[in-house]
């Protein structure tokens, strides 16, 4: 039995005070994702079976590179927020939850940096 008072035990265990920010950013990225993913799908559809030079030349255009960078930022941010909610819903153990959320953040950053670097290499070389 702990000697700490009930108040001391619950302090810091409540809301993280970030709920509104999470909700809002989730919606903003969701709105941004609509035109950005439509552009991605259209790009893939139009370039079905395209050879290497055609594909690379298309992606190297400044406007296309910019849209892809925006897509990566918005989509990765959105998926990071979304999976965090899934983790919080299903992983009840505090320790494993923390590890899962950390892994989610790492995975998101890795995907974002990888995609962004690839787009920049295509755009700037």
């Amino acid at each position: 039995m702990s000697m700490r008072t009930p108040l001391a035990r619950v302090r810091g265990l409540g809301s993280a005070k970030k709920g509104t920010e999470h909700f809002w950013l989730q919606r903003i990225t969701a709105i941004a994702n609509i035109p950005l993913t439509v552009f991605l799908v259209a790009t893939l559809v139009v370039h079905a079976g395209a050879d290497y030079q055609t594909m690379r030349a298309f992606l190297a255009q400044p406007i296309v590179s910019i849209v892809f960078l925006l897509l990566i930022a918005s989509a990765v941010w959105h998926m990071r927020l979304g999976l965090q909610v899934v983790i919080e819903d299903y992983v009840s153990s505090e320790g494993r939850k923390l590890l899962a959320i950390m892994a989610n953040n790492f995975a998101s950053i890795i995907v974002a940096v990888t995609c962004a670097l690839a787009v920049l290499r295509i755009a700037l070389s």
């Binding site: 919606r27 609509i34 991605l40 139009v46 079976g49 992606l59 990566i72 899934v86 995907v111 990888t114």
Partner: protein, 135 residues
């Protein structure tokens, strides 16, 4: 202390107890497609890296994406994108406080089921015509 509380607490019924409804299926699918799309960004990264790397790497992507299994994954990916998008638009309508009455909920559910399927088929039809399959 927490364990004692758990022992006597009644459990809420889990999904297998309920009759399946379209709204329930869509709720589950929205989350499932979201998680699937998370994995799908790995494919996006692979494709972009391949274009950045060179013709050999790009040829590998093309080999996988023209195999029937790779194509099935891409088909699922495109459907998941459209499905999650329209599920999200449905949530935006709800965010404004509209569309909560039973009739509207059913109408929106049907729209959010059918349009993504149609768009997926249209996108693939267009992709195959760009591939020159129909000409």
């Amino acid at each position: 202390m927490a364990q004692q509380d758990n022992a006597s607490r009644p459990l809420s019924p889990h999904i297998q107890i309920y009759r399946w409804t379209l709204t329930m299926i869509l709720s589950i699918l929205h989350r499932a497609t979201g998680v699937a799309l998370y994995a799908g960004t790995g494919l996006l990264a692979w494709w972009l890296l391949a274009v950045a790397t060179g013709p050999e790497a790009y040829a590998q992507v093309q080999a996988v994406s023209s195999h029937w299994l790779g194509r099935a994954v891409l088909f699922g990916y495109s459907w998941a994108l459209f499905h999650h998008m329209f599920g999200g638009i449905r949530h935006f309508i709800w965010d404004t406080g509209r569309g909560f009455d039973l009739k509207m909920v059913e109408v929106l559910a049907r729209i959010a089921t059918i349009i993504p399927l149609v768009l997926t088929v249209v996108a693939w039809f267009l992709a195959y015509s760009y591939l020159g399959v129909f000409s």
